[in-house]
């Protein structure tokens, strides 16, 4: 088994105009692990994820997927994105397509699977999240939690090697957060590789293999959850976590 990290950021920097959001981030995501990014709003968590998926391009530094430099402008961005699934805070389901069409879109258009086969697979995924009865309705008929779970299975439909979750519970009512996080735990049990940004500290503590604390665009502290949450070393980490223990 290949022991090199699946995803690697090397001194990644990203600026929007004069605002430098990432100031040299170096981070490894090992296969079959869940790495959780925590940090205040504006600390660069989302930008980090969007750079990994090439929705943004880094201004400096490199990103490697499977040892291949995906920050190289000459690489085929579509081919890279095929290997990476991402789920957004605002679900971003396609409102003009049925739930099933949303889930099967990448199989049909990117993998090139015939519709019948794609729908069989799509139905299996919907069954897994318990909403196969809603396959033929449009996303606006689903609850937020259901929409987000559809967005997750849409992202994993074509078996990406890496799954990015960008604050996927931040737009949900508190009572709907659980069903979405349960699905993430289920994915973890299938040995998926996940890099996620979240404000759910108790979930981060229980589900993460590694926790990364981002502060002002740099990794202030990282390590196993018990260390970060139990005995944080840096004052900034302690100050940030204080605010979550009311």
């Amino acid at each position: 088994m290949d022991e090199s990290p699946l995803l690697r950021f090397e001194r990644a920097r990203k600026s929007f105009g004069r605002n430098e959001v990432l100031r040299g981030v170096t981070l490894d995501v090992t296969r079959h692990t869940v790495v959780v990014c925590i940090g205040a709003s504006g600390s660069g968590k989302s930008t980090l994820l969007r750079c990994a998926n090439l929705l943004e391009t880094v201004t400096d530094g490199q990103i490697f997927l499977n040892g291949e430099d995906i920050s190289d402008p000459r690489r085929d961005a579509d081919a890279v994105r095929r290997k990476i699934g991402i789920v957004f805070q605002s679900f971003n389901l396609f409102p003009h397509m049925t739930v099933l069409d949303n889930v099967t879109l990448s199989l049909r258009k990117v993998v090139g699977m015939p519709r019948g086969e794609a729908e069989e697979r799509g139905m299996a995924l919907l069954k897994r999240i318990g909403i196969e009865a809603k396959a033929r309705v449009y996303p606006d008929r689903l609850s937020g939690g259901q929409q987000q779970r559809v967005a997750i299975v849409r992202a994993i439909a074509s078996d990406p090697e890496l799954l990015l979750l960008d604050e996927i519970t931040s737009a949900l009512d508190p009572q709907l957060v659980g069903e979405v996080l349960d699905l993430v735990l289920e994915l973890k049990s299938t040995r998926a590789t996940i890099l996620m940004a979240t404000h759910e500290m108790s979930f981060a503590r229980s589900a993460a293999d590694d926790v990364v604390f981002l502060h002002n665009g740099v990794i202030e502290e990282s390590g196993p959850p018990d260390k970060i949450f139990g005995e944080p070393e840096k004052p900034a980490t302690r100050a940030f976590l204080e605010r979550f223990r009311v």
Binding site: R81, N92, D140, R154
Partner: protein, 249 residues
């Protein structure tokens, strides 16, 4: 009340008897109707072809104008100049330029004036419709594009499968309005000599010096547009109902 007032003003005016005879003569109306109706068939043909042409060219223009790649800057500038020019120029000037200019080049031999008229209608209306579609494209939230691209879809696939269907839905009422406008502007192909409803009426008028055929052709144009106008109203009402029922996001 208002209608009655208008009627009495008209009926009591000095020239009313003359006007009634030259514009609303039942005899000339009956005579003109079948001739003008035959002409209208030609308008319908032009309309059908022009609609398809406009749909294709306008979509192409809108897609070009909404690209962001620096490499495509020349194309984008060209599309901008095109929409500016054809929205600014009076339709009739375009008709003259195309209708008399292209045959004057003597490249293609004789071209039917109907075809030239259709081309002019397509060129002008594409500029308007392109702007409407562009507005629709820009109204689709960028996160939709991000979601599609991150599934691995190419730019072209994203536009075709995700962005355009949503964009068009957002601007359907405006598109339908442009279609109704085009429906009557196809009558302008008559200035090139195509024998359409307007031109057939003109021929009848020049024989009799009675203007009733114009009224007949106007009436037919209204009849032609009515179904679509009501379809537009119906669609707008349905959209409103859906929004009140819980949103059309």
């Amino acid at each position: 009340m208002f209608a009655a007032a208008v009627y009495f003003t008209l009926a009591r005016s000095e020239g009313w008897a003359r006007v009634r005879e030259t514009f609303f003569s039942p005899r000339y109306f009956v005579e003109a109707l079948p001739v003008v109706a035959r002409g209208l068939l030609m308008n319908l043909r032009v309309l059908a072809v022009a609609s398809l042409g406009v749909a294709a060219l306008a979509t192409l223009l809108a897609l070009t104008r909404t690209t962001i790649s620096p490499v495509l800057f020349p194309l984008r500038a060209l599309a901008t100049v095109y929409t500016d020019a054809f929205r600014g120029m009076p339709m009739i000037i375009v008709l003259y330029l195309i209708g008399f200019g292209i045959p004057g080049l003597r490249i293609f031999g004789r071209i039917d004036s109907t075809i030239l008229g259709t081309i002019a209608v397509i060129l002008v209306y594409s500029a308007y419709v392109a702007e409407v579609i562009r507005a629709g494209i820009e109204a689709v939230h960028p996160s939709q594009r991000a979601a599609a691209r991150s599934l691995g879809l190419s730019h072209a696939q994203t536009m075709r499968v995700v962005v355009l269907p949503q964009a068009v839905r957002k601007v359907v009422p405006a598109l339908m309005n442009d279609f109704v406008a085009m429906q009557k502007d196809v009558g302008l192909v008559s200035v090139l000599g195509a024998i359409d409803a307007v031109r057939s009426a003109q021929i009848l008028v020049s024989k009799s010096y009675n203007f009733t055929p114009y009224v007949a052709s106007g009436l037919l144009f209204i009849l032609m547009s009515l179904p679509f106008i009501h379809l537009t109203d119906w669609y707008a009402a349905r959209l409103k109902r859906r929004e009140q029922a819980g949103g059309v996001v």
